[in-house]
């Protein structure tokens, strides 16, 4: 009976590298990890976007139209749909001039979860409470 808390920290911008997408898809895989664990064992990820990584949380990404690939927006929406906790750093979106109405949601997919825009202190707490921290 144990839960492992993981903090996925995304600090790189989307599309420049594969990192943000891999962070999200790895975090989402917590949904199926139970097939490899014993009864009562769980993994709980928290997905945090900081620095240039916050750009992954913009709504209206056109990756399918321009690159023919699933957008990072769609991946993050899928994360919300499977009830992942997704945090984005308030100070960093402010630095980019991004207002909260530009942050994506997955309402159209029926997700209950929403991205939480939080001060960096809250992300620091998520890092400190995690058993392992994974930087992407």
């Amino acid at each position: 009976m144990a839960d492992t808390k993981l903090a996925f920290i995304v600090q790189r911008p989307p599309y420049k590298s594969e990192n943000p997408k891999l962070a999200v898809t790895h975090a989402i895989s917590y949904q199926t990890v139970e097939i490899l664990l014993e009864d009562g064992e769980t993994v709980t990820p928290t997905l945090c976007f900081i620095g240039e990584g916050v750009l992954a949380c913009l709504k209206g990404q056109k990756a399918m139209e321009h690159y023919g690939i699933t957008s990072t927006e769609m991946h993050v929406k899928s994360a919300l749909l499977v009830d992942l906790n997704v945090l984005v750093c308030k100070e960093d979106i402010d630095r980019f001039g991004i207002t909260e109405d530009k942050i994506l949601d997955a309402d159209d997919m029926g997700a209950d979860k929403k991205i939480q825009v939080v001060p960096y202190d809250a992300i620091q707490k998520a890092i400190e409470s995690a058993n392992h921290v994974l930087f992407f």
């Binding site: 492992t4 594969e18 891999l22 895989s29 917590y30 990890v33 490899l36 392992h132």
Partner: protein, 119 residues
Amino acid sequence: MATLTIGIFSSLIGSMSFDFALKLAETAANKGHKVNLWLSGNAIGLVKNNQKHLKDYSTGEKPLKALLEKGVEVCTCEACTLARGIQKTDAIGGVQWNAMHWYLAKIHHSDRVLHIGGE
């Protein structure tokens, strides 16, 4: 003895991160620790067989086979690998093919995790 899981997302050629990870895995295994290696993103190039060791480039095939002989569990992300055109018939034997939850499950049972991100 402890369990160490290393997630590698860096490419074999282009930085020394991969070489470091393989040497660390070998050292830990030699000390009797249980070691797991997860390969994702550009790191999956490690599993391709028939790598030619040119002196100007890092090489992974020989160290990987040595790690497998020591009992290190190595798993490649199946989607990442197939997307890069490597089939199981092209891959080094003994490497597991699985999805990302393999990495999370190994992390769950690990004492320490070293996550080496991609470029």
